[in-house]
């Protein structure tokens, strides 16, 4: 089994430990990992702001890069970026049959990280260990476009030392929404506060997600409001060589 790693731009530049965790987990499971080095970004920021032409430009580059490799799957540690490629590339290429076909073909092979582990590799227990009381935040694209709800939770329940708690308003968006977070900052922050209130009520000391973008937004607000909640991507918790 050989997979190509699609590391979102903010994983590449801000949270590389997430990508590292993914690689280590996959290798532990005997999967060969390649990383197409010419990849940059899926184009979602332009797309979300309505700049479809610009998004198409970036998307074509993405398609070029990933079509140039041989792999069984493309694995992405972000529900939102996996959705962009698998779900919205055909959307923006709706009237361009050639590109649409390329994106549909590629799209079938793009899998979000937890989805890949549980549904492709059939693995739910990685023998991982992490002390803490955690809540899991499902990113909106992951929930609605990909329908991946239980997979991360199955994986977390098998992490020894980790207590997975329920929390209120679980299905509410965290308020990131890409450029929304700076275009409508008061609303975005209020939405984060709603989630943080639920987090406090749950008694969790750890926040986990499969989307670093959501985590960046929530962690930014948690820190600013004096919380010392640990904020981690699923891959960091499952990483067999974390802390070293």
């Amino acid at each position: 089994m050989k997979v190509a790693l699609f590391a979102p731009c903010y994983v590449d530049l801000i949270n590389p430990e997430v990508g590292v965790g993914v690689v280590r987990v996959l290798r532990k499971l005997g999967v060969e990992v390649v990383y197409p080095e010419r990849q940059t970004c899926c184009g979602q920021p332009a797309f979300n702001s309505g700049f479809f032409d610009e998004a198409r430009g970036v998307a074509r580059h993405f398609l070029d890069v990933f079509e140039n490799e041989r792999w069984d799957y493309v694995v992405c540690p972000s529900g939102s970026c996996a959705t962009m490629v698998s779900h919205y590339y055909p959307f923006i290429f709706k009237d361009l049959p050639e590109d649409r076909e390329r994106s549909e073909t590629l799209g079938h092979s793009v899998r979000e990280f937890s989805d890949f582990l549980v549904n492709v590799l059939g693995v739910t227990d990685l023998g991982a260990h992490h002390e803490g009381r955690a809540v899991f935040h499902t990113g909106c694209h992951q929930r609605r476009e990909l329908g991946i709800l239980n997979e991360p939770r199955k994986l977390l329940r098998n992490v020894s030392g980790l207590e997975l708690l329920d929390w209120g308003n679980e299905e509410l968006c965290c308020g990131f929404g890409g450029t929304f977070s700076v275009k409508m900052p008061d609303v975005s922050t209020a939405m984060a506060d709603e989630k943080i209130a639920a987090l406090e009520k749950s008694g969790a000391d750890t926040l986990v997600s499969c989307d670093s973008s959501c985590l960046m937004h929530l962690e930014g607000r948690l820190k600013r409001t004096g919380h010392d909640t640990r904020v981690l991507h699923l891959a960091e918790i499952l990483d067999p060589q974390k802390d070293g």
């Binding site: 590389p16 080095e37 990849q39 700049f51 930014g220």
Partner: protein
């Protein structure tokens, strides 16, 4: 100058205005007031929670709900594809039953028709049951102002709508118009009408409202409703209420006027089965509302109540523009309000922040479509695109995708502004060039050095200040993933 009679004292004057009501520009700026209002937030949160729980229970218990949803979509799709034919059929059916039909191109047309009718009938009071279409065209206020010589009193009879009207406020939720008001506020408003102090007790306030509005039902010459659905096959108009005012205004006054958006049509009577099941289950968590009323023409021969005259006003007001376009699905809406209940943005801002008759996700979609992008420029951006609305919609309207398309439309129309266009062009160029992308990363790491403090970026002015005003911003990592890969991760 002859002496004139003093102006008739009206209980209610409609001072409500559609459109951006506050002087504050921008959705985010207007949201601040709502965000700071703890009472509003708690009211919206509680209402949403109850409505969602109710909806999940009764819709979840319907075994064929998924099929109903798809069927609802297809019925609406078929209706829009042949709307001219169905409108003709509807008009013929209504006229065959003795009703009158008027085709109103816009609000002005509709209001003029009502004014002429009121004049002919010598009407002084119009008793209204809730109709969003009439609010959209500001019927009440324009009748009062532009046709002041008619001295019409137009009374909203839905409890919440009446109270909002008295307060000069617009409703803030499709289903719960005065979600934003405390009971004390309601008591104050009704006390000033009663001329005595009423306690903030729901039962007492309701009793007063019932008594007061009863007088209007019995005195009104014209009863006015909207329509939840119109059946082309039979000419039937369907209204759905819980209070009973919808049935009262169509049973007591001698004239019944229906203002119906043209998109409310369904082809056949049996199609109602799908929609009646979906509407209240989705919107209020009820299996059915207290009054589901089917009106086909004026009263029958021998009936002693029911309207003697029925006037159906079919309102376009911009809807036809959407037919056959990528935005047509916005017309499939049945106004259940489910999207408002699940919207995380609406949860924080309430309805008034949207500054339009229609708020929440459907409001953000339909307002720019009916009123044009310039007037409602912010609304497509008042969303994090989470998709909860599309998930909740019982007709399967892809609301969050429509918001995206509206953003794209703004870009194509040149409304996005120069700074953004330049920025995203730059973004595209950077992301199409691995070399440029890597250089930007390295440059960013250099540039951030003086700004880093305790592991995060110190608050910045400019576009990112929106973020750093309230949230910490993480710095770029000392080594990118790609660098780590090349420096050793690649080989294990």
């Amino acid at each position: 100058m002859t002496t004139s009679k003093p102006a008739r004292q009206h209980d209610t004057e409609d001072r409500r205005r559609e459109g951006i009501k506050s002087n504050v520009e921008g959705f985010n700026e207007r949201s601040r007031k709502a965000i700071g209002d703890r009472q509003l937030h708690d009211a919206v949160a509680l209402a949403s929670k109850n409505l969602i729980e109710g909806r999940n229970k009764v819709l979840g218990a319907l075994p064929d709900a998924p099929e109903l949803r798809e069927r609802a979509y297809r019925i609406k799709q078929e209706t829009m594809a042949n709307l001219d034919r169905y409108l003709e059929q509807m008009a013929d059916a209504v006229e065959a039953r003795g009703g009158n039909v008027f085709f109103a191109r816009d609000g002005e047309d509709a209001i003029r028709y009502v004014a002429d009718l009121a004049r002919r009938k010598g009407a002084r009071i119009i008793a209204k049951s809730k109709s969003m279409a009439t609010e959209e065209i500001e019927l009440n206020r324009r009748l009062e102002e532009d046709y002041a010589d008619l001295d019409l009193e137009i009374v909203e009879t839905d409890l919440g709508e009446w109270i909002a009207q008295l307060a000069g406020e617009t409703p803030s939720h499709i289903v719960g118009p005065i979600l934003h008001m405390s009971r004390q506020r309601v008591a104050d408003i009704l006390s000033s009408v009663a001329g005595e102090k009423l306690p903030p007790n729901v039962e007492e306030l309701t009793k007063f409202a019932r008594k007061r509005l009863r007088e209007k039902f019995l005195a009104a010459e014209i009863g006015m409703t909207g329509a939840n659905f119109g059946v082309a096959e039979t000419g039937t108009v369907v209204t759905v209420t819980n209070e009973g005012n919808g049935r009262l205004v169509t049973s007591v006054p001698p004239v019944h006027v229906v203002v119906m958006g043209i998109e409310k049509l369904v082809p056949k009577f049996e199609d109602l089965s799908t929609f009646v099941q979906l509407l209240s289950r989705s919107g209020t968590g009820q299996k059915i509302t207290v009054y589901t009323n089917f009106i086909t023409g004026p009263r029958a021969e021998g009936e002693l109540d029911g309207a003697e005259e029925l006037h159906l006003i079919l309102l376009d007001n911009g809807r036809s523009k959407l037919l056959g376009t990528e935005f047509e699905e916005a017309l499939y809406c049945i106004r259940c309000g489910a999207c408002l209940n699940v919207c995380p943005v609406y949860r924080q801002t309430g309805g008034h922040t949207y500054g339009s008759t229609y708020s929440g996700p459907i409001g953000a979609v339909i307002t720019p479509l009916l009123k044009g992008d310039k007037e409602a420029k912010d609304l497509p951006h008042a969303s994090s695109l989470c998709g909860a609305c599309s998930e909740a919609c019982p007709v399967g309207i892809p609301l969050h995708d429509l918001l995206l398309k509206l953003r794209n439309r703004q870009v194509e129309e040149g409304l996005a502004g120069r700074a953004q266009s330049v920025a995203f062009k730059g973004f595209e160029n950077t992301m199409r060039s691995p070399a440029l992308y890597r250089i930007s990363g390295k440059a960013g790491r250099l540039a951030q050095k003086p700004l880093e403090k305790d592991g995060s970026i110190r608050p910045l002015p400019g576009p990112l200040s929106g973020w750093t005003n309230t949230r910490d911003l993480p710095p770029l990592a000392p080594k990118s993933f790609r660098e780590l890969w090349k420096e050793g991760l690649k080989d294990g």
